[in-house]
Symmetry: C2
Subunit: 146 residues, 2 copies
DNA sequence: GGCCTTTCATTCAACGTTGAACCAATAACA
DNA sequence: TGTTATTGGTTCAACGTTGAATGAAAGGCC
């Protein structure tokens, strides 16, 4: 009784559920065969462009290298990403977006649009913005104290 | 550039990371062999006591019936939970906590304590409480619009 | 130069989850 | 009543993830 009624536990519980629901909604909206992880990588390249090593991508997405190897292989199989060896450093690879990858990103974005609009109709930008500092602080703390 | 800077997307991104970190921290703190899902079920019974059907547990934890079958089987294997057929309704089963289950819960709670105290040292109850209404609203909305 | 350490990427088994198929038991209804 | 629909639980393949092991390449240091 003391446990779940504490606000910190409640916050983490709600966050867990929201994360699950949001991820499920994302994967349901996305075109067949594109996972949330794959869409995240495409988004990364659309924003930043250029090339990135698998290790940096894994760090950016808070995911193990093994997991990133997996999603990059799936992206490459679909032709959404190009992976070449880094001739300057034999350990590294350089990943970059293909034209097909950019198109896949756009398609995913379109498929996502109705759901995102629904969300923005239910809550204001101000509400999201107001919640953000605390969430960021919480994320940073959990990241530093893992 | 327009996408990830929007507060709604940022909120969901932060929530996803927090969820992952919090779940990982939970499983790392818990005694060997006890998953977050299992601990959640134990917590449920410690709070509410009595008996519950697998279907109700699945609904309470927002999880498929198959997933709940899995965690209940693992709990039963460890002797933390008792599962009997419901003689009043041949489809149902009745799940209840064992003494060993109660002890396992207490052990998990103890193992969790230092981390929870660290969290409550870094943020105040008021901060968690302030964030809660928005998170609950968001959870309810995503639940209704899935 | 040689040795130790670190970094990068891959592979593999294990886990928890989903979604679908399935069967048994009950409920609803003609 | 008999038939159909719904509910409860299990099983299975597939997915994404972790964590650990492996190997190759580069860096640090004497």
């Amino acid at each position: 009784m003391a446990l779940k009624d504490r606000p910190d536990v409640s916050v983490l519980t709600e966050i867990g559920i929201i994360s699950q629901l949001s991820n499920a909604a994302l994967e349901r909206s996305l075109p067949e065969g594109m996972s949330a992880a794959q869409f995240g990588v495409l988004t990364h390249f659309m924003r930043r462009g250029g090339e990135e090593s698998p290790a940096k991508l894994a760090a950016a997405f808070q995911v193990t290298k093994g997991a990133m190897t997996n999603t990059l292989q799936r992206l490459e199989t679909q032709g959404f990403v190009r992976v070449v060896a880094d001739e300057a450093d034999g350990r590294k690879k350089r990943v970059s977006l293909t034209e097909a990858g950019a198109r896949a990103y756009e398609a995913g974005l379109m498929a996502l649009r109705p759901r995102m609009e629904g969300l923005r109709g239910a809550f204001t930008d101000a509400e999201f913005a107001a919640a953000l500092p605390f969430l960021q602080g919480l994320r940073v703390w959990m990241d530093e104290n893992r």
